[in-house]
C-alpha cells in the first residue's frame, strides 16, 4: 500500500521539520504549508489523506483554512487535526464546530498525535509501530 499523505500547515519551520521527521519514521508522506493561503493551495495540489493544522497562521488563520476547505467538495472530506498553542477553552469548541476531527494543545505529545492520526485515517491501532518511547503527557 502507498504511504498515506499528510499536509502540515504551521508557520513555525522547526515544528514543521519536527513533525515531518516523526511522521516519516511512521511511514507517512508529508507536505508543508506555512500560511493559510498556501494551506489551501497545497491541499488542492496534493490531495492529502489528512491535514495537521495550526490555528495562528499568517494570511488568515486555521479557521479560514477549514472554511475554505469546506467549500471545495473533494477537499471538504479530508480529516483535519488542529494542533494549536492557543488556549483550549473556546478554540477547541470552535475547531470542532468548524469540522476538525481532533484538537491537540501544543506542546503536543507525539504518541498522542500519532494515535489521533491513525484514528482519523481509520487505521487500526498498532498497525504501525511508533518508534518512540512513550513519554506520557506532561
Amino acid at each position: 500500500m502507498d504511504s498515506r499523505k499528510i499536509l502540515i500547515v504551521d508557520d513555525n519551520a522547526d515544528i514543521r521539520l519536527g513533525m515531518h521527521l516523526r511522521l516519516k519514521a511512521n511511514q507517512y508522506e508529508t507536505f508543508f504549508a506555512a500560511d493559510a493561503f498556501s494551506g489551501v493551495a497545497e491541499a488542492r495540489k496534493h490531495r492529502p489523506d489528512l491535514i495537521i493544522l495550526d490555528l495562528g497562521l499568517p494570511a488568515g488563520d486555521g479557521f479560514t483554512v477549514m472554511e475554505r476547505l469546506k467549500q471545495i467538495p473533494f477537499l471538504a472530506v479530508i480529516p483535519v487535526i488542529v494542533v494549536s498553542a492557543r488556549d483550549g477553552l473556546g478554540n477547541q469548541k470552535r475547531a470542532y464546530e468548524a469540522g476538525a476531527k481532533a484538537f491537540l494543545q501544543k506542546p503536543v505529545n507525539d504518541a498522542e498525535l500519532l494515535a489521533v492520526i491513525r484514528q482519523a485515517l481509520g487505521e487500526p491501532a498498532g498497525t504501525k509501530k511508533p518508534t518512540l518511547l512513550d513519554q506520557g503527557s506532561v
Binding site: D14, I15, G18, R22, D87, K106, P107, L133, V138
Partner: protein, 526 residues
C-alpha cells in the same frame, strides 16, 4: 462658568421631614440644586430608571419599602447613582449596614446642619465619581494583566513544542543511535521541558483564577473516583522515588458537591507536592472521611513523611508565589502557584484548605468539601429576594430494591426553608402524607422525587396527587392545584445512569420547576 444644577431625588414619606429638607435647600443658590420629591419606592424606581438623577436621598422607612431593602432597590434601579440614606433612628448599626449595602453616606434626621447638607451631597457625588473611576482603572489593569499573561503563555508554548519534538526525536533514535550518556542528558532536557510546560500552564491558569473566569461546575461528584484517578496518575512518580503511595477511603464515603475536573486537579497538586517534598523511600497517603467538626463536609487528607513546613508558614504557603523551601533546592522548583491555585479552587467550591506540619516529620494537607445534598442544591434556586415566607416541602418516596439510596442523600435539616415530610416511604405508608400536610399548614410547593422500578412510581404519584387535591387546608390557604403541587411527576432513573448523574438531574429538574413557579407567581402578583 455656570455649573449644571445637581439633580436630587428625595424619597421620603414624612411631610415634616420633606419640609425641613426643602427649607435647607431653599437657602442655597437657585440654580445649584434641583429637588424632585417622591413618596414611594416604586415611584422612585421608575424615576431612577429614566436616568438624569445625580444623587438619591433615601428614607429607610417608606410605605412600600423598608430598611436595607430600599437601598438595594435604589441601587438596582440605577447602579451608577450614589445613595445617601436618611435615618431618624440614630442607629449607627443600621447606617453601617446601609453603607455595606451600597449607600455612599448616611445622614441622621434632626442632626443635619443647614449648610452642611448641600456640601455633603456635593462631596458624595464627587466621591462616587472618583470611586467609579478607580474601579474602572483597576478593572482595566486586571484585564490587561490577564491578557498579557494569556498571551505570554501562548507565545511560550510554540518554541517549547519544537524543543520537545526534537528531544523526543533524538531519544527515539530517529537521528541515529545514542550512547548511554547522551540518552541520560536528553532525558534531563525532557524532564525540564515538562517542568517548564507545567509552569506555563500554571501561569495560564492563574490568569484565569485572577480574572474569575475559571469555569467551575459543581455537581454530585464521587470522591473515590477522583482519588483513584489521582493515585493512578501519580503512582509512577512516587515509585520512581521509592515512595509508598496509599489511599484509605472510609466505606460508604458520600459524594461531594464539586467540579469533578477541578477536584482531580486539586488532588493532583496536593499529591504531587507531597511526593516532591518527601525524601526517597518515604510515604504519602490520602484519606477521605466525614469531617468530625461539621458532618456536612467531607474531609480529604494528604499526609506525607516529608521535610515539613515551618509552623509559622503553614498559612503563607497558600499565598501567591510563596515557596516554603530553599529556592535553590533541586527538585522543588515551580512557580509557587500550585497551592495558590488549589486554595482558590477549593474556596470557590465552598470548601476550605489548611495545612498542619511538624518540621522534619511531615505535613498534612486537609481539604473539606460540602457533601452533596439535594436540599442544599435546591436552595440555590432561592436567592435572597426570592425567598418566600412559606417553606418548601420536599417529599421523597422510594420504593423497590434500592430504598434508602436517595433518602440517605436528603437531610431536610441541612437547609433552611426546605422541610421534608416523608422519606423512604413504602407504598402503604403514603396515607400518612395527608395528615402531615394538614398539620404542617400551607406550603408553597410540593415536590416529589420518586425512584421507581416499574409501575409503582406512577401509582404513588397519582395517589399523592389525590391526597393533595382533597386537602381542605390547602384550599383554605388559597393555593391552587397549579401552585401547590405541580411537580409530582416521578423522575425516573435511567438504568445506565450513575447515582451522581441521577441526583444531579433530579436537582436540575426540581430547580427548573421552582424557577418557573417563582416567575409565574411574580407575573401573577404584577
Amino acid at each position: 462658568m455656570k455649573e449644571k444644577p445637581l439633580q436630587i431625588l428625595l424619597v421620603e414619606d414624612n411631610a415634616g421631614d420633606v419640609r425641613l429638607l426643602r427649607e435647607m435647600f431653599s437657602k442655597e443658590k437657585r440654580d445649584a440644586f434641583q429637588l424632585t420629591h417622591l413618596l414611594r419606592m416604586s415611584e422612585a424606581e421608575t424615576h431612577l430608571a429614566k436616568g438624569g438623577v445625580d444623587i438619591v436621598l433615601l428614607d429607610l422607612g417608606l410605605p412600600d419599602g423598608h430598611g436595607l431593602e430600599t437601598v438595594r432597590r435604589a441601587h438596582a434601579a440605577a447602579p451608577e447613582v450614589p445613595v445617601i440614606v436618611l435615618t431618624g433612628l440614630d442607629d449607627e448599626a443600621l447606617a453601617a449596614e446601609a453603607m455595606n449595602a451600597g449607600a455612599q453616606d448616611y445622614l441622621i434626621k434632626g442632626q443635619i446642619e443647614n449648610r452642611a447638607l448641600p456640601r455633603a451631597l456635593r462631596h458624595a457625588v464627587e466621591r462616587h465619581r472618583m470611586q467609579t473611576e478607580t474601579d474602572l482603572i483597576r478593572t482595566n489593569q486586571m484585564q490587561f494583566k490577564d491578557e498579557f499573561l494569556s498571551h505570554v503563555s501562548h507565545e511560550l508554548r510554540s518554541p517549547l513544542t519544537a524543543v520537545r519534538q526534537f528531544v523526543t526525536i533524538l531519544l527515539d533514535g530517529l537521528a541515529g543511535e545514542l550512547n548511554l550518556e547522551q540518552r541520560q542528558y536528553l532525558e534531563i532536557v525532557l524532564r525540564n521541558v515538562k517542568q517548564l510546560h507545567s509552569m506555563i500552564n500554571d501561569l495560564f491558569e492563574v490568569s484565569g483564577v485572577q480574572a474569575g473566569k475559571l469555569k467551575i461546575e459543581p455537581q454530585c461528584t464521587s470522591v473515590s473516583d477522583a482519588i483513584g484517578y489521582t493515585v493512578n496518575t501519580l503512582q509512577g512518580a512516587a515509585a520512581a522515588k521509592g515512595i509508598v503511595l496509599s489511599s484509605d477511603i472510609a466505606r460508604k464515603v458520600p459524594s461531594v458537591c464539586a467540579d469533578p475536573a477541578r477536584l482531580r486537579q486539586i488532588l493532583i497538586i496536593l499529591l504531587d507536592n507531597a511526593i516532591k517534598f518527601t525524601p526517597q523511600n518515604g510515604t504519602v497517603a490520602i484519606q477521605a472521611r466525614i469531617f468530625e467538626e461539621d458532618p456536612d463536609f467531607l474531609l480529604l487528607e494528604v499526609s506525607d513523611s516529608g521535610c515539613g513546613i515551618d509552623p509559622d508558614k503553614t498559612e503563607r504557603i497558600f499565598e501567591r508565589l510563596f515557596q516554603a523551601s530553599d529556592p535553590d533546592a533541586a527538585d522543588h522548583n515551580g512557580l509557587g502557584l500550585g497551592l495558590y491555585i488549589c486554595k482558590d479552587l477549593v474556596t470557590r467550591q465552598g470548601g476550605r484548605i489548611w495545612a498542619n506540619s511538624t518540621p522534619e516529620q511531615g505535613s498534612v494537607f486537609s481539604v473539606i468539601f460540602p457533601i452533596f445534598s439535594l436540599p442544599k442544591l435546591l436552595a440555590q434556586a432561592f436567592t435572597e429576594e426570592r425567598q418566600t415566607e412559606r417553606s418548601i416541602t420536599l417529599v421523597v418516596t422510594e420504593i423497590g430494591s434500592q430504598t434508602g439510596w436517595l433518602s440517605n442523600e436528603v437531610r431536610a435539616d441541612q437547609c433552611r426553608g426546605i422541610r421534608e415530610l416523608l422519606r423512604g416511604s413504602l407504598y402503604s405508608d403514603l396515607d400518612i402524607l395527608l395528615p402531615k400536610i394538614d398539620v404542617a399548614g400551607p406550603e408553597e410547593f410540593f415536590f416529589i422525587a420518586a425512584m421507581t422500578d416499574g409501575i409503582g412510581g406512577e401509582a404513588i404519584s397519582k395517589r399523592i396527587r389525590k391526597q393533595l387535591d382533597s386537602s381542605e387546608r390547602l384550599r383554605q390557604a388559597g393555593l391552587t392545584h397549579s401552585t401547590s403541587h405541580r411537580s409530582l411527576e416521578p423522575i425516573k432513573q435511567d438504568s445506565t445512569e450513575s447515582k451522581e448523574v441521577f441526583l444531579e438531574r433530579v436537582a436540575t429538574d426540581i430547580q427548573a420547576v421552582i424557577n418557573e413557579e417563582i416567575l409565574a407567581r411574580q407575573v401573577r402578583n404584577g
